[in-house]
């Protein structure tokens, strides 16, 4: 049953900030195993869309479902979720932030075990064993006892990715994961995300890195002025776009 439902289903999503409409009716699906990149110029609404998916921003209207379950609003379509309900649906989508957002008072290992132990109720030893597996995957196991302030940006982001993986989410949402990194550190983070892509983790990646979007994604979405302008496989998206707007946008990055 779950296999046929989209992991994320966004319908007619609207969101305004101070009277300025940032999202103007977005429809957007992510299926299991898909890696979707969202590109668009600054202020196009792409980050807002991502942040609405786990209700960090509350949309004005429209619906979001994660594997069939409404986010933010109860099944009746109008009652806002209680804090507990919202927390549990949020945990099904993990997020990796532009500025890493690690918890500085916790070691690398405990950043990763925090949600499994204190949100999902996983046994502590089990959570540690699992966290070590994820840290090994992102190449940060050697730093498991280090504190975030001792790490480089690329290392922090790799820990943040392990933290996201440790929640066993249905989907990982990446909000410009390499934008805050020094250029020479971008590669190590993209490499880690690329390995996850090869293992068919379901991922949505908001990014400015065109080459990265092209090589990693099954589909690329172009958002401009609050609407989805075009969505296509990378070859078509970058090679033969349908719309003039995307053609112009892509050509600027050649």
């Amino acid at each position: 049953m779950n296999e046929v439902l989209p992991v994320i289903e966004v319908r007619d999503l609207h969101k305004s900030f101070d009277g300025v409409e940032v999202l103007k009716g977005i429809d957007f699906d992510v299926n299991r195993g898909q890696i979707i990149s969202i590109i668009g110029s600054s202020g196009s609404g792409k980050s807002t869309l991502l942040r609405c998916i786990n209700w960090l921003e509350e949309p004005d209207s429209g619906s979001i479902r994660i594997v069939g379950d409404r986010v933010g609003i109860r099944a009746d379509g109008k009652t806002p979720m209680s804090e507990k309900e919202l927390a549990s649906v949020r945990a099904r989508a993990a997020m990796v932030f532009q500025s890493f957002n690690l918890w500085p008072h916790l070691s690398v290992l405990h950043n990763v075990t925090e949600a499994p132990v204190h949100v999902q109720g996983v046994n502590k030893d089990e959570a540690i064993a699992q966290a070590e597996v994820w840290l090994e995957r992102v190449g940060m196991l050697v730093k498991k006892d280090a504190y975030p302030w001792t790490l480089s940006g690329g290392q922090k982001q790799r820990v943040a990715i392990a933290r996201a993986l440790a929640m066993n989410p249905e989907v990982i949402l990446f909000d410009e994961p390499t934008s805050a990194l020094d250029p020479e550190l971008v590669g190590e983070v993209q490499g880690v995300i690329g390995e996850l892509a090869a293992d068919n983790f379901t991922m949505v990646i908001v990014t400015h890195e065109m080459d990265f979007a092209r090589t990693i994604s099954n589909e690329v979405v172009f958002i401009d002025k609050g609407v989805v302008v075009e969505q296509a496989a990378p070859e078509k998206f970058f090679g033969d776009p349908d719309t003039e707007r995307l053609r112009q946008f892509v050509s600027r990055y050649r």
Binding site: N54, M95, F97, S99, W103, P104, H118, V119, W149, R163
Partner: protein, 213 residues
């Protein structure tokens, strides 16, 4: 000063120490509660706490002690003067601590809060696991400062007849007719107490470096 005078002086210091100590402990916890409640913006409670803090900040400790002392007889139960002293100091320090905690809440990293929400934490879990451990460190200098102010205003409890460190110097002088030695000795003891508290701030400094990402 002879041995007896010193023993009397230490007894006074002990009164200051334990009454202040209990009030500090209660006041830190209660202050946190007040700050969280105010932050929750519950209509009537929020307004009430706002007035509580404003009034207490404007009220001298001596006045507060006297107020509790003269109103206590109207209560249906008998209230010990120790309780009046602890209550006065706690009511006072809670108000100041609440402001310290509130500013720590207000300035807490939005990024970390978002990471906690995205990880599925409820506000309660986030407060306990993410915010409080860091706020304890960032607030400690302010809290220690408030602790030292509390100890220094604690002689007000002599108004209800308790022989604290300052009050006791009068009693020693009444016997020895030499006011200076007991006052100097009392000052030295205050400095010791406050010096011990200031050491706490160094603990905060040690951990604060981690938090400055």
């Amino acid at each position: 000063m002879d041995w007896n005078a010193w023993i009397t002086l230490f007894e006074g210091a002990w009164v200051t120490l334990w009454i202040s100590g209990i009030s500090i402990a209660l006041g830190i916890v209660a202050g946190f509660g007040v700050a969280v409640l105010r932050n929750a913006r519950i209509p009537v409670i929020s307004k009430f706490l706002y007035y509580y803090i404003s009034i207490i900040r404007a009220t001298p400790m001596v006045t507060l002690v006297l107020f509790l002392f003269v109103t206590a007889p109207y209560l249906p139960i008998d209230i010990d003067r120790w309780i009046i002293a602890v209550a006065a100091l706690t009511i006072n320090t809670t108000a100041f601590n609440a402001e310290i905690w509130r500013s720590a809440l207000a300035t807490f990293s939005r990024e970390q809060v978002e990471a906690a929400k995205a990880a599925g934490m409820t506000r309660r879990v986030m407060l306990r696991r993410i915010m409080l451990p860091q706020m304890m460190i960032t607030s400690l200098p302010g809290l220690v400062n408030e602790m030292t102010l509390l100890i220094k205003s604690s002689p007000a409890i002599a108004m209800v007849g308790l022989a604290d460190l300052t009050r006791i110097t009068n009693r020693i002088t009444a016997v020895t007719y030499e006011p200076l030695p007991p006052i100097l000795a009392a000052a030295a003891l205050y400095i010791l107490m406050i010096g011990a508290l200031v050491r706490l701030q160094r603990v905060a400094d040690k951990y604060a470096r981690r938090l400055a990402m």
